[in-house]
Symmetry: C2
Subunit: 284 residues, 2 copies
């Protein structure tokens, strides 16, 4: 019989994240996307190499990371050994940093409850990215777990996000409808801070429009760096008036900052530099 234990009375995810960001003065989320083909020299191109690489990156960037985000795809591609590495890497992250599962799950009923349990309880992640296409009843099973959160895809950073997310529904883009639904339910059904949104830095207008609807909701903001947006611009568009709640996720520019044996030091320097771009003085 499999059993699960959870810390009780954990503060909400958003509260823990804001505390961490204030403590270290950083809204940077370090994204662990250990693409096998881009691992530095001297790291073996297998699951044990991925684990070794991620442990070194975590140690080097921890001081600048308001959160870590682990991308499941680069572990799943390594099969069973990859899943074991995923488990090990998640546990290698100190308890003082919230850890996000970038898994983009979303299903129905008992299937969805199994995903929520797998990611938030068994693997012990603090939050998980969730696709809204199936509707709110596919998001709800990820809520109600003390200290945990669901980060709902809203306006994603890729060009193809225009295909459906931008379609006009009663004159408003679909992603605004998703945002409003999430904000409404976050007020009605959820503990404060257990629902967030994913909005790409590549769409600053979307960041501004959705931020205008909610000061308190956490946005996970990918798209800085390789995808062309700048961290400071993303904070300007996505943070609230106190400079909070826009968690700027950067992966490749940090973890692959150097292709040689000094990759960890280079990652630390990149994270430090980016972290400085994610804080700004309150505007009031």
């Amino acid at each position: 019989m499999v059993t699960y234990s959870l810390p009780s009375h954990q503060p909400p995810f958003a509260v823990r994240l804001r505390r961490r960001a204030a403590d270290i003065r950083s809204w940077l989320c370090v994204g662990l996307d250990p693409d096998l083909e881009r691992l530095p020299d001297g790291i073996s191109r297998d699951a044990s190499g991925v684990e070794e690489f991620c442990r070194a990156i975590i140690a080097a960037t921890h001081d600048y990371a308001a959160a870590f985000k682990i991308n499941f795809a680069f572990f799943e591609v390594l099969g069973t050994a990859g899943w074991a590495a995923l488990d090990a890497v998640r546990r290698a992250i100190p308890d003082d940093v919230p850890v996000i599962a970038d898994a983009k799950r979303g299903d129905i009923g008992n299937t969805d409850r199994a995903y929520a349990r797998a990611i938030l309880e068994v693997l012990g992640f603090d939050a998980v990215t969730v696709s809204p296409y199936l509707g709110w009843d596919s998001v709800a099973p990820f809520l109600g777990i003390p200290g945990k959160a669901a980060l709902v895809l809203c306006k994603t950073s890729n060009p193809g996000s225009a295909d459906f997310q931008d379609l006009p529904v009663d004159g408003v883009p679909l992603y605004m409808r998703v945002a409003r639904t999430a904000i409404t339910h976050a007020g009605l059904d959820s503990a404060p801070g257990e629902v967030g949104l994913v909005i790409g830095a590549t769409y600053p207008d979307a960041l501004r429009s959705v931020r205008a609807l909610s000061d308190g909701m956490v946005f996970l903001v990918p798209g800085v760096g390789a995808q062309g947006a700048r961290a400071g611009d993303a904070v300007a568009a996505g943070a609230n008036a106190r400079g909070e709640n826009a968690l700027i996720s950067v992966s490749r520019e940090v973890i692959f900052a150097s292709p040689d044996k000094h990759f960890a030091e280079a990652a630390g320097r990149a994270a430090q530099s980016l972290a400085a771009e994610t804080v700004r003085a309150p505007t009031h």
Copy 2:
């Protein structure tokens, strides 16, 4: 270094599926959703029990299954041992039956390519369910692999599917826009038969509307049984005039047909009975 080998010159997924369905006179897809809490008496409630259970169900239902569908959530919830069981169960299915990964993935760029490789190459599934919310550039990486297919969520079987999928875009529900996009791209970019759609049996009008747009596209049709729809009605609404291409997916009513030690025989009888409901004479 991880390497992958693929059979070359495999016929398209849809062609293999239609051949199998014609050979055994069944459009039934047996869904392997091994919920730990519902395993029969005498099966251990852990990954090895899940594997044993699934192997027995596969053996008992194989003759009536046009395809199998494996639900990733119930393996992921068991951690690393669960992923190993997923791999073993997939490989336990004979080569003559296409196997669908019900994983509902969908991401961007190199992440999406890693998911496609993980599921269609490393695990060796024949098709995978994909969420369209991120846009067509998140579906495309699952295409172009010989013999494989992406089954794109269109109108899902749950009540919450109304939240976004039914929203009117230029007077037409969003799911119809998703269907048209998939059908257009299936013609433009894809080998025939490497794009399918997921449409719930609980929405026969959606099945009819989308079928009217495409005779040749495979629909994966969940929602029969526990969710209230009947297999015969789903075929009537979703199959083409030759009675093809509506793959009726049933999980709980087959695999949990009996809670005692005779579960496999009961599953076989349930699959045989349902299979008979999935075929109908051509209407022309």
